[in-house]
């Protein structure tokens, strides 16, 4: 192993610090903004020094925004709850459907298997607006418009192909010999799948679930078109702070901090799986 000289170490430290500042400064600035009033944020020139206020967070959590012309109602916490429900349930449903499917595509050769797998992937290529209007009409006819169930169903367009294709790659990387050995020992197919295949593929499944959760969390257009205001996620709800009478920068920043918290926490928690799962699934021999 080569030793780095002091100069190289210093240079490396500086470069890492610069990269960190470059990537983290916007987030740091948003956090600072979330503790300032609009007037403080819009000061010219901007300043790092201010008297912090919790007013933005209080408004979001209580749902009451005090303005010059009275108290306005905010639905941000409802939006946050909606995002949580839609993303979690969509990913859970996709895992139930896509993991066995991915296993089947990876392990068995059957008629039209590649065509079916590609069709499922092609859902990711379709522009959402292309499918949304017909879906709106169908949903209204069958009573699924403006329901969580209907939205979770549509969210499968985002989460299902992603999980299926990442996990399929992962299953293909695991040698089938281990499964064969377990089957020879007299265990059923189902038991092999649950006891051997899934535990071995867990990093890949976790990475795929996390990624699809982030995609689902960031989705904007499905709920906007298919549901009423009370089912909207944070991505739509956060725009409510941009009104004709002004932009509530402080509340937008506080909303951004609150809304990235779940995905950030999940990403930190699953960081190990994410790197391992993505790199193993992506680099196949």
């Amino acid at each position: 192993m080569q030793h780095m000289s002091t100069g190289e170490r210093v240079l490396r430290g500086i470069l890492i610090a610069l990269a960190l500042i470059f990537f983290l400064f916007p987030i740091f600035w948003i956090v600072l903004m979330s503790f300032q009033t609009n007037a403080q944020i819009l000061r010219i020139p901007p300043s790092l020094f201010f008297s912090p206020t919790l007013e933005n967070y209080t408004s979001l959590i209580t749902g009451q925004l005090k303005t010059a012309s009275g108290v306005l109602t905010l639905n941000f916490m409802q939006n946050l709850f909606n995002s949580f429900i839609l993303s979690t349930a969509s990913v859970a449903l996709s895992l139930v459907l896509a993991v066995p499917a991915a296993y089947a595509f990876a392990r068995y050769k059957f008629r039209f298997s590649e065509d079916i797998a590609f069709t499922l992937l092609s859902f990711k290529f379709a522009p959402p607006l292309l499918v949304l209007l017909p879906l709106t009409i169908y949903f209204q006819k069958i009573g699924l418009a403006n329901t969580y169930f209907g939205l979770i169903w549509v969210y499968q367009l985002i989460t299902l192909p992603l999980i299926l294709w990442i996990v399929r790659g992962y299953f293909e990387d695991i040698s089938p010999d281990i499964e064969h050995a377990y089957r020879i020992a007299g265990h059923s197919w189902a038991k092999t799948f649950f006891k051997i295949s899934i535990p071995l593929a867990r990093p890949g499944i976790a990475a795929a679930a996390l990624l699809s959760f982030i995609f689902a969390w960031n989705n904007f257009v499905f709920a906007l078109v298919l549901a009423s205001a009370d089912k909207q996620p944070v991505t739509v709800g956060a725009l409510a702070f941009v009104t004709a009478s002004g932009i509530q920068y402080g509340q937008i920043a506080a909303a951004a901090v609150i809304s990235i918290t779940p995905t950030l926490a999940l990403a930190l928690f699953a960081q190990r799986y994410l790197v391992e799962g993505l790199s193993l699934g992506a680099v196949k021999g």
């Binding site: 009033t37 609009n38 007037a39 819009l42 000061r43 010219i44 303005t67 010059a68 012309s69 009275g70 306005l72 949304l132 209007l133 709106t136 009409i137 209204q140 418009a145 403006n146 904007f220 257009v221 906007l224 078109v225 009423s228 205001a229 009370d230 909207q232 739509v236 725009l239 409510a240 941009v242 009104t243 004709a244 009478s245 002004g246 932009i247």
Partner: protein, 480 residues
């Protein structure tokens, strides 16, 4: 206490006391601002209910659903909604969507023939698409039906240019409000374009408010040169229809220029007429010399923020944009002044283009008659006055509100606002030629303005290219 409140409301509704007396006596009863707002709403419903020839309870028990944009006008209506419920016995639910995505939601709901919403907020330009497509109800049928419309509603009290600007025959090129025009929407509140300026800076620099475009260019250049960190004039510049419709079009038509010439149903782009070239050349020069540095990204929000933060000396944009900066949580609160503006030195009066937030009825509603009751109430004198006096429902669309003393007292806190309105209002209307490619044409127009300001093309050549491109689009759409 309750009896005293009730008697007080009854006295006002029965015109036994004036509004000023009402306010004084309410304050003697120890009623706070919130309670006063509630009382005003109740008073409004009592006054409407006093019209005994009209049965406001005809649709009692019906529930309506509204599609609303997150806007001070919608907030004002929601604050007063209990008054409507009490007056009619109906219930109202609503979906409020942010403005950025609002029209996507409206288009999706209407194009899918959804019966979910009974009434909705819309701009007048959008009705040029929604109306002829059969998505909206022609409200003339209701307005002219005395059985369905209260005598006290008084349609003629709504400013005539706004009534005309929200009605159109659907024939491309035919004048708004002309013969056979369908009333696609009811004006709710609106904005016209004039100068909002920073009085503090103008006083410090001993500047006069500009009266025309050459004057404006000179004043803006002086501010940019003499006031550190401040640029002269804020106008919009993003690649969007919204760049064309405020100050730009208001000045453009003041020079006698038009967007199209109409000849026997054929629309010919006219952005390269001599008048259009003269005005556009000056406009482009003004932005290059005294506009914001990243003008091509400027929308309503940036123009307003800069004025409120003291980063610009003035704006030529919606009067209510200046109003919100003057009354909101901004650094320059109370420092903004207002002035009418005729860009052409030879023009007799200003010609501000307008944006009108309006209420329309979905053609897919299954409760149209009940929806009409809501629309009547929401555009009534009483609610318009409530919104204008107690909330931020400016500019009101009714003459009676502009004549009201309480409203005048409130608006007088904004220096020059009433005067600019009086000078601008006679010429304030939509100056675009109504046609179905409105958004495509205006977006292309804004894109060309960006190229001209960036000096990619000389103004004459750029406008000739723009006309050729728009004529091509019109021809392909069968409009030539």
């Amino acid at each position: 206490m309750y009896d005293q409140e009730r008697d007080l409301i009854a006295a006002l509704a029965g015109h036994r006391i004036g509004r000023r007396d009402f306010m004084r006596r309410a304050s003697q009863l120890g009623l706070g601002a919130a309670a006063m707002s509630g009382l005003m709403g109740q008073m409004a419903s009592s006054a409407l209910a006093a019209d005994s020839s009209f049965d406001w309870k005809a649709h009692k028990g019906t529930t309506l659903k509204l599609l609303l944009n997150k806007h001070p006008y919608a907030d004002a209506m929601i604050a007063d909604l209990d008054a409507f419920k009490e007056l009619t016995g109906m219930d109202v639910t609503y979906d409020v969507f942010p403005e950025d995505v609002y029209f996507d939601k409206v288009t999706a709901a209407l194009s899918s023939s959804s019966s979910e919403y009974d009434a909705l907020m819309t701009g007048a330009y959008q009705t040029w698409t929604y109306g002829p497509a059969g998505w909206l109800v022609d409200l003339n049928d209701y307005i002219q039906d005395s059985a369905k419309t209260a005598g006290t509603w008084d349609w003629d009290d709504v400013l005539p240019n706004l009534r005309a600007s929200t009605s159109w025959s659907g024939v491309p090129g035919e004048a708004l409000g002309g013969k056979g025009a369908k009333q696609w929407a009811l004006p709710w509140a609106f904005e016209l374009n004039s100068i909002s300026y920073n009085k503090r800076i103008f006083d410090q620099q001993k500047l006069e408010v500009p009266k025309n475009l050459p004057d404006l260019m000179e004043t803006a250049a002086k501010i940019t040169k003499d006031v550190s960190g401040v640029y002269g004039i804020g106008v919009r510049g993003s690649r969007s229809w919204a760049t064309i419709h405020p100050g730009f079009l208001s000045g453009y038509v003041n020079y006698g220029a038009k967007d199209f010439t109409v000849d026997g149903g054929s629309l010919k782009a006219a952005m390269n007429s001599p008048e259009a070239k003269t005005f556009t050349a000056d406009w482009v020069k003004m932005i290059q010399e005294s506009g914001p540095k990243n003008w091509s990204t400027y929308t309503w929000y940036q123009v307003g923020n800069d004025l409120g933060a003291g980063a610009s000396g003035m704006i030529f944009d919606a009067d209510i944009l200046g109003y919100f900066q003057n009354n909101g949580d901004t650094k320059e609160k109370g420092n903004i002044g207002f002035h009418a503006f005729a860009a052409n030195p030879d023009a007799k009066e200003p010609t501000p283009n307008v944006w009108i937030w309006s209420l329309a009825m979905s053609n897919f509603s299954t409760k149209k008659d009940a929806a009409w009751y809501f629309m009547q109430w929401a555009t009534s004198k009483e609610h318009d006055l409530f919104g204008a006096v107690k909330k931020d429902m400016v500019n009101p669309v009714r003459q009676s509100v502009w004549d009201n003393d309480d409203f005048k007292t409130r608006i007088a806190q904004n220096a020059g606002y009433l005067e600019q309105f009086k000078a601008s209002e006679p010429g304030a209307k939509i100056y675009f030629t109504p046609q179905p490619l409105f958004f495509d044409v205006t977006t292309a127009w804004a894109a060309m303005l960006q190229r001209l300001v960036a000096k990619e093309l000389p103004v004459d050549e750029g406008l000739d290219q723009l006309v050729a491109s728009i004529d091509d689009q019109m021809s392909q759409a069968g409009l030539q």
